[in-house]
């Protein structure tokens, strides 16, 4: 009813926040005593768990670095995008204006990445995203690409989408796919990206696009049921996936439900209730707790207060460590960081080598994991 006014207030609030970030920022980069990294992702809102799962990885990496008493300490500020492109477009200029910030760990979502590019590109601020996976962000031909400031330590949806189609139909003879997306920068291309593999493995009996934030999914449930589908793939985020999957189960659909990493957040089983059971999810991530030793996990818990690391803690840890690696080499300006990230070779926590191609993707891609919801918990299952 009052969208324009709410938007106006959001802009004003974002500007105030941005100024606040500037005003309260710690020592300037010029002093070379400390520098700041910004984490940008959803920390509140319907998709907040995505960011809340990632930020402990960044906090842990910085805590380990600072504990070594380096010459230059690193501080972390948080920029809450709510996984919303409009919000991101308002907060990114504030982060960019903060001279202490020399790198952005983020963004978590693809839509917000695209809307943040103008501010960060103008400020020469390098981004390393733990989970923004839309193909277009690193596509040299795409108008919304993030070149030359955007990088990501996650395999893009060109890898995830076929893996999602494969994993969704694993063990199903004659899969009949119904593919639904949420019409976002992330969900739309991810869902469409599953279609070629789906057509190879079985038949696509229907597709639909339902705007993110829709309350009623009963008409979609009717269509899915009428189509005779036995595999439903959803490209979208947790909150809407929970609503859709509930509507499908309540509408009598008994086949497989599957979604990508946008839904693979620890609050999904709670939001979807019984409909979450058996849901197949993917993510280009190796669970952090499977990499850390017992002692490291205890240390992680002590520092972050999180017992079980969430999805993309690993990639957030890796993204942060790339910045920290450059900082420890004495790269303390935005331009030096950009050069270091663009040309450097880094080591991931799992022993993997990370090097970016010209457009910001990791060379060689990364495996996509398949996850299964069982007894209200998302468990790693197998390579998708």
């Amino acid at each position: 009813m009052n969208k324009k006014i709410v938007s106006g207030l959001a802009i004003a609030a974002a500007a105030t926040l941005a100024l606040g970030v500037v005003a309260t920022s710690p020592a300037s980069a010029a002093a070379k005593k400390s520098v700041t990294l910004a984490f940008q992702g959803p920390l509140t809102g319907g998709d907040a768990q995505l960011g809340q799962d990632q930020i402990p990885g960044a906090i842990y990496a910085i805590a380990l670095y600072n504990a070594k008493n380096p010459a230059v300490k690193v501080e972390l500020i948080k920029a809450d995008s709510q996984c919303d492109g409009t919000v991101a477009a308002n907060i990114a200029p504030g982060v960019a204006a903060n001279k202490a910030v020399i790198g952005v760990i983020g963004t978590s979502c693809s839509g917000e990445a695209r809307n943040s590019f103008p501010a960060y590109r103008a400020a020469g601020l390098t981004m390393i995203a733990p989970s923004a996976s839309a193909v277009s962000l690193t596509d040299p031909k795409a108008p919304d690409r993030g070149f030359p400031i955007f990088h990501r330590v996650v395999a893009h949806d060109g890898f995830q989408a076929p893996a999602l189609a494969r994993y969704a139909a694993k063990g199903v003879t004659n899969p009949k796919y119904y593919v639904i997306d949420d019409m976002t920068t992330y969900g739309g291309p991810l869902a469409k990206g599953t279609l070629p593999t789906a057509k190879k493995l079985g038949t696509v009996v229907g597709t639909d696009s339902v705007a993110k934030g829709t309350a009623d999914y009963t008409s979609v449930a009717s269509k899915v049921k009428a189509s005779g589908a036995n595999v439903v793939i959803y490209g979208g985020y947790t909150t809407d996936a929970a609503k859709l999957f509930k509507a499908l189960r309540d509408g009598g659909y008994t086949g497989i439900l599957a979604s990508g990493d946008g839904t693979n957040t620890s609050d999904f089983p709670g939001l979807a209730g019984k409909a979450a059971e058996g849901v197949r999810l993917t993510a280009a991530d190796v669970p952090f707790d499977s990499i850390l030793t017992k002692a490291q996990l205890a240390e992680f818990t002590k520092i972050t207060g999180i017992k079980v690391p969430g999805l993309y803690s690993t990639t957030a840890f890796n993204a942060t460590n790339i910045f920290l690696d450059c900082i420890s080499q004495g790269k303390l300006t935005r331009s030096a960081i950009q050069l270091c990230v663009n040309s450097g070779t880094f080591k991931g926590v799992g022993g993997d080598v990370i090097k970016f191609n010209r457009y910001g993707d990791i060379i060689g891609g990364a495996p996509v994991g398949g996850y299964l919801v069982k007894d209200g918990v998302i468990n790693y299952d197998a390579v998708a």
């Binding site: 009813m1 809102g45 907040a48 829709t214 009963t218 009717s222 509408g251 019984k274």
Partner: protein, 317 residues
Amino acid sequence: MNFSVVTSQFWSLALQGLALGLIYALVSLGYTMVYGVLRLINFANSEVFMFGTFATLYIEVHFLGYDIGAPSLHGFKLVYTLAFALLASMLACAILAIIVELVAYRRLRARGANRLASLISAIGVSIFLLEGMRMITISRPMTTPRLLDKWSFGEFHGANFRIDTVLTIVAPIIIFVVLDQFVTRSRLGKSIRAVSMSEENSKLMGININRVITLTFCIGGLTTGAAAFLYTTVYENTIFNVGFNMGIAAFTAAVLGGIGNLRGAFFGGIALGMLEQFASAMLGSQWKAVTVFAVLVVVLLFKPNGLFGEAVQQTRT
């Protein structure tokens, strides 16, 4: 365009459209009642709805102590619990709607303020409520326990008569009939209609205008509260901005039916719900909003006051 889905799923889509439309209708009554007496849109009604969904959640989870994993209820306990949550939501929304009237409308009206001032103050209250809930909930979605197990009475040509669907159809019809009779037959209802026709003449007839306006907001709050309860029971979730889309839909329904007209709001809601379901099925969900507003424009071209509206709009039956 997919006609086969419409033919094969006609009764299913119609039933779901009816259920969805009746939730719209209840919220729409809140808009139309206030418009009838004040000739102003109560922009805060969408947040009254939002408040009702959280009131339902609070009653079920915190007051009655059913956590998210609580098993479904049966028998008297189920009826008692749902009736209690329904009444609590209606009461909470009615109180909030009265507060909205006192804060955003009454004082400005008493001082003879420009009508636009009331409009802006209602928007202000709406933003206050929206942002307040956003901060309280840190924008996170919340789920309610499935207290009502979704068992089915049976199917008719593919239409599944699930208990929650039937409840969502029967409850609004009862509420509407009661409201319709109240406005038509009761002394207070007649006062509302009189004020909607002429505030000046009503004053001369000894009607307490302020009391009638407060009553109108209260009734709007009650119907919106009922809608919020039904929404939460069917969809089992809410979020701070849940009222935004619902407000747009309900306001559209009120305009489609003829704003200021009770029956218009009711049937406008049903029409909108049906239209959304069939447009989604036939054209794809991405065309739902486009279709709804295209139809609205066409209807208004031929019936500028809506399907049930009259040249001089009144809160009447």
